[in-house]
């Protein structure tokens, strides 16, 4: 496990309540009493944030028939889970969360995920939940094995952060058929997979990027050419963080022109080369950049802008790692999305807790959206990762 020792003391309250069992309080009552909302994350924000819902527009007849620039084309992905008819969902035991056993299938290793596990652990300790973490290492093959292993552990619930949003469907189905409730987390699974999970929590990639696209357009005065540095192929942000802004800007700022989009596999050198090449190629036509990641992509972009003396280009990016926050602070970047990694992990387990407590769950619960700008960046420091 990745549980850190120094955090263990914090959860004394949780522990004592377990030993107080003699008072005749049931597990359920006890677990309902535990207050996790007061826990503060390492960035000074509450660990558990109120989740959001969103308005779901009418589904187009045949989304795939629409052009990629139309929001409708992406309906199935963007609004996955809202209208899904669930299948064979296990009923909540409604007997409290304390002492339950949970398996976390995390997607892979990344500093984001270290922070995620931190948040997760804090909640687990608060409820004295026994957990095991299986790390998929971004490899679908490995995760498919781990799913079997997770079932084999016979946990009370599985927190499932899929490596692949679409390919996880048969895996979730398998867990579901074994009668184990699933709380999906982080990457939103495709519609086919949503059938099998009790709930999903995580960042609203589409929503956030629509939000930041508007911010971006405002910064640019709703005109000029822009380009997008995409996420890693095969990941769901590869689409979300590209087409959310594109479709949004088509409507919100039709004068803006998409000049180019390409991936640099989230490598700083590759991003630097890509952005430099774009700047040389498009010259002054290029007025803004949207980055699907704020770590290495940001570093590379920053370098490219400095080298070419184009600090005037408006940059917005996703995530809130230290690099990105620093960029906002330095004025290189005009805004990044707020996505608490610890909160992501915490909310996933907290949702499981609510399930154990027998509470009604939303099928989809987004982390709150927010754009961090130079004005409020200090509130979010230090960065979680």
């Amino acid at each position: 496990g990745c549980g850190t020792k120094d955090k263990a003391e914090k959860t004394d309250s949780g522990k004592t309540s377990v030993s107080d069992n003699a008072d005749g309080q049931s597990n359920l009552e006890q677990s309902k009493e535990i207050d996790v909302f007061s826990i503060i994350g390492s960035d000074g924000q509450p660990l558990i944030l109120p989740t959001e819902k969103k308005e779901v527009p009418e589904r187009p007849e045949d989304p795939k028939a629409l052009a990629e620039e139309e929001a409708g084309h992406w309906w199935d992905i963007e609004y996955a889970g809202w209208t899904t008819e669930k299948e064979n969902l296990p009923k909540s035991p409604a007997d409290g969360a304390i002492g339950k056993k949970v398996v976390l299938l995390k997607a892979g290793d990344h500093p984001y995920w270290t922070a995620y596990v931190n948040g997760f652990t804090q909640i687990a300790e608060a409820y004295d939940i026994d957990f095991k973490i299986l790390n998929g290492n971004w490899n679908m093959d490995l995760q498919s094995q781990q799913v079997d292993q997770a079932i084999n552990e016979k946990p009370d619930a599985v927190i499932f952060a899929p490596v692949d949003a679409t390919a996880c469907a048969p895996l979730m189905r398998k867990i579901n058929q074994a009668g184990i409730p699933i709380i999906a987390s982080n990457t939103i699974p495709a519609e086919a997979a949503m059938k099998y999970c009790t709930a999903w929590t995580g960042p609203d990639d589409w929503g956030q990027f629509r939000m930041i696209a508007r911010h971006f357009a405002d910064e640019m005065g709703k005109k000029g050419g822009y380009a997008i540095v995409r996420h890693m192929p095969g990941s769901s942000p590869y689409f979300a963080r590209t087409f959310a802004p594109i479709t949004e800007l088509v409507e919100y700022a039709p004068d803006m022109e998409l000049l180019a989009m390409d991936t640099a596999n989230l490598e700083a050198e590759a991003t630097m080369q890509l952005v430099s090449d774009w700047i040389t190629k498009y010259g002054d036509d290029l007025k803004g950049l949207i980055l699907a990641g704020d770590g290495f992509s940001m570093t590379g972009t920053e370098e490219a802008l400095k080298n070419t003396g184009r600090e005037d280009i408006v940059v917005v990016a996703a995530g809130n790692c230290k690099t990105g926050m620093d960029a906002v602070k330095n004025g290189v970047c005009s805004g990044i999305t707020y996505q608490s990694a610890e909160g992501d992990g915490a909310i996933a387990l907290y949702t499981a807790v609510r399930f154990f407590n027998g509470e009604e769950l939303d099928p989809v619960a987004y982390l709150p959206r927010h754009i961090i700008t130079a004005d409020d960046v200090d509130n979010y420091m230090p960065a979680q990762w």
Partner: protein, 380 residues
């Protein structure tokens, strides 16, 4: 002296199998939730993809070549198989995918043989190309279909009775025809192993259809490579290309064929994996990890890069060993860092051991026993 070295060489030759046994025993005792039928079945299923890949991979190794594009081929062909399924159905799309794999192998083979490029280099090139094509074909997204019936059948289904009868008949026929000599260990193994297998297959649910299919592919590979005159040619070509040429064996053809077989098994592996999960990811790490694990497994199985040596069965045990290791680490709840470290450690020990024995052998090559005896008396 001699006896001791014999035992060591016996251990060395069967190290993959021994590692499998040792790891299993260790995990059964110490790892929570390890020792149950369901988990064993999980391990066997998870070994399938790499096991099939390493059939062709081993053949390429025997030919003293290497194919770094197997992971990419598996991924691309799996993607193709899923991508075409809605239009063609599983059968046809599998055929197309395998044909694509064969084509990739053919390309590799031709580049290696005709352009005379070292296969390590040539297949780095192919890997890059396939990565591009993969991205183009998938558009960077996962391909999947919503019909899981095939995947379910592969994992938990039952074969129709006629199929079971055919397979058992084939096994029996092979055992009878090979007339095992019961006096040797090998002969006994030829009788016992199939019997145990058939009994386990019929009485337990240990072997899912996908495992049986893997076994069949492995068996066909072993049969061709080790039991036919044609297959023995791979060893000759890998052992000494000149010998092969002088014996009238078409070395170029064998190398090309080796790569084609490797492409075919890689694509089969990818396709079967894709069928099992009804989808294929576009993350390239899938290909990279498949390549690296297969490489390590084949080496641990005792196949050497220098060619002329290798066994598909031992490669399978190498793959199995890694799957048990991964599973065990999961059971202990240890992180991936431990997994990759142990992975490296085992590979390092094996590579070092091999180098060290060669080193010792070189140092003592030509040592005369009668003089050694004398030396012992001198030192006393």
């Amino acid at each position: 002296m001699r006896k001791k070295s014999n035992i060591i060489s016996l251990i060395d030759q069967n190290r993959a199998m021994l590692l499998v046994i040792l790891l299993t025993i260790f995990s059964c005792i110490f790892a929570p939730n390890f020792a149950n039928r369901m988990n064993f079945s999980t391990i066997l299923i998870s070994a399938c993809m790499l096991a099939i890949i390493s059939v062709g991979f081993t053949i390429v190794f025997i030919l003293a070549q290497i194919d770094l594009s197997i992971g990419a081929t598996a991924q691309f062909c799996g993607m193709l198989c899923v991508g075409l399924q809605p239009n063609l159905g599983w059968g046809l799309s599998l055929i197309v995918a395998v044909a694509a794999g064969a084509l990739i192998g053919l390309f590799n083979g031709i580049v290696v043989v005709k352009f005379r490029i070292h296969s390590f280099i040539a297949t780095i090139g192919t890997m890059t190309i396939i990565r591009g094509i993969l991205h183009l074909y998938s558009d960077g997204g996962t391909k999947s279909i919503d019909d899981y019936s095939l995947g379910e059948f592969l994992e938990t289904g039952q074969f129709p009775i006629w199929f079971i009868i055919i397979v058992i008949a084939a096994i029996v026929a092979f055992v009878v025809l090979s007339k095992p000599d019961i006096k040797t260990i090998n002969g006994i193994a030829t009788l016992v192993v199939p019997t145990v297998f058939i009994v386990l297959w019929l009485t337990t649910k240990l072997f899912s259809p996908i495992v049986i299919i893997t076994f069949i592919i492995i068996s066909v590979g072993i049969f061709i490579v080790d039991h036919t005159r044609f297959g023995k040619g791979f060893y000759v070509v890998g052992g000494n290309a000149e010998t092969a040429w002088l014996a009238g064996i078409n070395k170029d053809l064998y190398i090309i064929l080796g790569f084609v077989i490797c492409g075919i098994t890689a694509s089969l592996a990818g396709s079967i994996f894709a069928m099992r999960l009804s989808s294929m990811t576009a993350r390239f790490i899938f290909a990279q990890k498949a390549l690296m694990t297969a490489l390590a497994a084949v080496i641990i199985g005792g196949t050497q890069l220098t060619g002329g040596k290798g066994s598909i069965l031992k490669s399978y045990f190498g793959v199995l060993m890694f799957q048990i290791l991964f599973n065990m680490i999961g059971c202990f709840g240890l992180g991936f860092e431990i997994q990759i470290f142990i992975n490296g450690l085992i590979l390092a020990v094996v590579v070092f051991y091999e180098a060290y024995t060669n080193y010792k052998h070189d140092l003592l090559k030509g040592q005369r026993p009668e003089l050694l005896k004398e030396a012992q008396s001198m030192r006393l």
